[in-house]
């Protein structure tokens, strides 16, 4: 039905997309697309939050698919809506719909003054019509105002209430959770009576090892949790393996590989090289706390959430809570930056459980420590590469073995609900009701991509290719999807190894790559990046500075990105510049594209140089920001991005830079030092170890 995408009232037009705003600016892109087809000023289009009663079910907002999949749907819906309005305008103006022109939101006959607006037509137009019954509408394409559009959500965000954390419902209470400080601990008990008597505390909720308090004020809920923690007793439910830089704990969990690509016949003769690359667990580490507001009534509940997938989450919440799916309404609200499957889904269930206990609206905020320990982590990974080289300096065989913790454990993706509270509560979770559809509708989550093998296939022309993926069922820490998934380490490994192979045959890294690329778009991107960085094949590096090059096509089907990074290696690695080039197909919102690339570059550099989450005998090693440093203002290099003009279909760009930036940093460090660091993060200790030949 068209009205799931577009609505109108006297004030003008509203659009709804099943793709949700994660801080990436997608709402702006959707407004630009809709406004272009409707021929109205994009600022006149209001973008409504997605909710499960009104918005289209588009599964998850993930995998850089929003523009690629949500964009065309919005475009066609808007064009169809324009036609429905044009019919009504024609009746009103006594003209033929085909003769009308629409501009600035007004329909009129060319050369005449009489005109009517979308708002004026709203009352007589019925958009509750099936999109499938209508002929495919003519598409008008992007207007200039759309291309230069500023984000309409920013003025409000930069002044007052704007996020899920800012929702204030009448009578709303605040909930906080009590969670363990080690991955293998579960709550046994605590002094509930004492906590219940504290100022402002409304109730204490305990179900199995799930525990939370509800209080009048958030500071009172926090104080109550602090008191509860003092008397809390915990029990270990498993023994933790030792954590080390090489992720040796993976050795104890042998799983048979999945064959992503299989080469036939005998491998060729020739010189062979191998290398092994490692990435530890990482954190989403959003600046805002994970949050949800639930309002439980006798006939059902409304939940305000910053989840990436309100429909799949609703299905799993209904299952855990034992209520009909229809009794839950989930409304998407903006949260702080979301880079994948974080705690947003978990906290929605926390809030629903606490709200059910008090029959009043409850906001739950997670503490910084819970955020950095109990949200799903980005999966730890190892990649082992092997290749054969011919005498004329070409790769004749490529072998890749990926081992990873789970990258895809969103609610509804497996047998488990994958919601933290569900695991903590006592008793079996009822089997999934038949109405819950697994989110197979979203491409990219098909069996051929389990996240760990994302970008494990090089884009180079290789006569023989084997890719194996060992996916561990569960590592010591909870893990799921984070921006770029396996592409971060896979591209780091492939592009690092390409440099090692180039060096082995005495070739320049750029020339060596060019020899193995036939895809014209890949060629254009790598040449553009090399050109903008003034790549010099005679630059021998050393003396503490170096430059590195890397290239990938995200997911092998998404946007192309290549870059040249310059570094200075002092105490630690300083990034001096990033010259990148991107081909993301037809660009809908140029500033939004650049913003996504810049953010992707900064975040990936931070992961690669600084970040690591793990555990020791005392529990989680990350307790808060002090134990998880990230990049700051003084780390930011100049970032130049060349955008390749393209008429190919639009592709998302939020994730394409991560792998290449990481790899180019690794390659630049190797160019500066003459030795390669194959384990992320590239810290001072790792640099010293590499120099001393310990890696």
């Amino acid at each position: 039905m068209l009205d799931r995408w577009i609505g109108a009232d006297r004030k003008g037009l509203v659009v709804r997309s099943g793709k949700v705003e994660l801080g990436q600016g997608i709402a702006t892109t959707m407004a630009a697309i809709a406004a272009s087809e409707l021929r109205v000023d994009p600022l006149q289009v209001r973008v409504m939050p997605a909710d499960t009663t009104l918005a289209p079910n588009e599964g998850y907002t993930a995998g850089s698919f929003s523009v690629e999949h949500g964009g065309p749907a919005m475009r066609v819906a808007a064009a169809m809506a324009r036609e429905v309005f044009a019919d009504a305008a024609a009746r009103h103006l006594g003209a033929e719909a085909d003769d009308l022109v629409v501009q600035d939101g007004l329909f009129r006959m060319p050369g005449q003054n009489a005109a009517i607006s979308y708002g004026e037509l709203a009352e007589v137009v019925d958009l509750h019509v099936s999109a499938l019954d209508r002929a495919f509408p003519p598409l008008l394409g992007l207007s200039d105002t759309a291309l230069g559009l500023k984000r309409p959500d920013l003025p409000a965000k930069l002044s007052g209430a704007a996020y899920v954390q800012d929702i204030r419902l009448p009578g709303m209470l605040f909930g906080r959770m009590l969670r363990p400080t080690a991955p293998n601990l579960r709550l046994v008990n605590f002094d509930r009576e004492l906590v219940a008597r504290l100022p402002g505390v409304v109730t204490v909720v305990v179900q199995g090892s799930f525990a939370g308090v509800v209080a009048q004020r958030d500071d009172q809920a926090l104080a109550a949790i602090a008191t509860a923690r003092k008397s809390a007793r915990w029990a270990a439910i498993s023994t933790l393996p030792a954590d080390d830089d090489a992720l040796s704990w993976m050795d104890a969990m042998p799983v048979p590989p999945r064959h992503v690509a299989t080469a036939e016949g005998e491998p060729p003769e020739g010189r062979r090289l191998t290398a092994r690359f490692v990435r530890p667990y990482l954190l989403h580490a959003s600046v805002g706390p994970t949050c949800a507001v639930a309002d439980w009534r006798d006939d059902g509940a409304t939940v305000h959430t910053h989840s990436q997938g309100i429909y799949p989450l609703r299905g799993q919440m209904a299952r855990v809570l034992g209520v009909p799916v229809d009794s839950l309404t989930l409304i998407h609200a903006h949260g702080a930056g979301c880079y994948g499957h974080n705690g947003a889904d978990d906290v929605a269930l926390d809030a629903a459980i606490l709200s059910r206990a008090v029959k009043a609206p409850v906001m739950v905020l997670w503490s910084r420590r819970d955020e950095m320990t109990w949200s799903p982590h980005a999966a730890a990974m190892r990649v082992e590469l092997g290749a054969a080289l011919s005498d004329d300096g070409r790769v004749t065989d490529w072998h890749c073995r990926v081992e990873s913790a789970p990258h895809l454990a969103r609610p509804g993706m497996g047998e488990d609900p994958n919601l933290l509270a569900a695991a903590e509560m006592e008793g079996p979770v009822p089997a999934a009701p038949p109405v819950v559809k697994p989110p197979v509708a979203t491409p990219g989550f098909s069996i051929s991509d389990r996240g760990g093998d994302r970008n494990a296939r090089p884009l180079y022309d290789l006569p023989r290719l084997t890719v194996l993926h060992h996916e561990l069922p569960q590592g010591p820490l909870r893990s799921s999807a984070m921006r770029a998934l396996g592409a971060h380490l896979n591209v780091y490994a492939i592009e690092g190894f390409m440099d090692e192979l180039a060096q082995a045959v005495g070739s320049d890294p750029l020339a060596f790559r060019l020899r193995h690329i036939s895809d014209p778009r890949a060629l254009a991107v790598i040449r553009a990046a090399a050109h903008s960085a003034a790549w010099d094949e005679n630059d021998v590096g050393g003396e503490g500075t170096g430059r590195g090059l890397a290239l990938a096509r995200y997911k092998n089907t998404g946007a192309y990105y290549a870059c040249v990074v310059r570094v200075a290696v002092e105490e630690s690695v300083r990034v001096l510049s990033v010259h990148g080039a991107v081909d993301a197909g037809r660009v809908i919102h140029p500033d939004g594209l650049l913003n996504q690339i810049e953010g992707g570059v900064v975040q990936a550099a931070s992961w690669t140089l600084l970040e690591r989450a793990g555990w020791d005998k005392d529990g989680f090693t990350v307790q808060g920001w002090d134990s998880y440093p990230i990049w700051g203002f003084r780390d930011i290099p100049p970032i130049h991005t060349t955008v390749i003009a393209s008429e190919d279909p639009s592709l998302g760009a939020g994730e394409c830079a991560a792998g290449p930036v990481a790899a180019a940093i690794g390659n630049a460090v190797a160019h500066a030092l003459g030795v390669r660091v194959r384990q992320m993060p590239i810290t001072r200790d790792r640099l010293l170890a590499a120099i001393q030949g310990e890696m």
Partner: protein, 162 residues
């Protein structure tokens, strides 16, 4: 003046208006601003004095409110981004941020605006290096919107110099 069962109300001057708050003396200023005064533009973040998203001005100086107890600001002048008057330093910084579209999710931004506003409006001529040091000591941005925020800062510094 005392109330029936609560502590004596505490007087604050918030965004130019005098306000009387009946909350626990030790309550963090952040929760007083957000939950007693309804000023939601000051964000709740780490609550540990590390991320800076809760920053406001107390007598013109940037202060993290999550670690500031209410009693310590009795009678002081508090300014938040919600109350930024046109032409004020806060509004100027905010305009520069909007001009450069200097945000992704925007969650960290209001605190950063407050810190920059206090530094460029101070008596000393603003120094870029010093501002960056202060920002790194007191603020975090996870989206990587820094390049844009730096452009906004440079725009402001150029205006101030002119």
């Amino acid at each position: 003046m005392t109330t029936r069962d609560g502590p004596a109300p505490i007087q604050l001057i918030v965004n130019g208006q005098s306000r009387s708050v009946e909350a626990d003396r030790d309550a963090p200023l952040l929760s007083v601003l957000r939950d007693d005064l309804g000023l939601l533009g000051t964000r709740t973040g780490c609550l540990e004095g590390r991320c800076g998203s809760c920053t406001v001005h107390v007598d013109g100086r940037a202060v993290q409110t999550c670690t500031t107890p209410l009693w310590s600001v009795t009678g002081r002048k508090i300014d938040t981004i919600d109350g930024a008057a046109p032409g004020s330093a806060i509004a100027r910084v905010r305009d520069a941020f909007l001009h450069e579209q200097a945000a992704q999710c925007g969650y960290c931004v209001n605190g950063i605006i407050m810190t920059i506003a206090s530094l460029i409006a101070g008596p000393a001529a603003p120094d870029r290096g010093h501002i960056l040091t202060v920002l790194d000591e007191r603020h975090l941005c996870r989206c990587g919107a820094h390049p844009r925020m730096l452009r906004a800062l440079d725009r402001l510094l150029a205006e101030t110099a002119a």
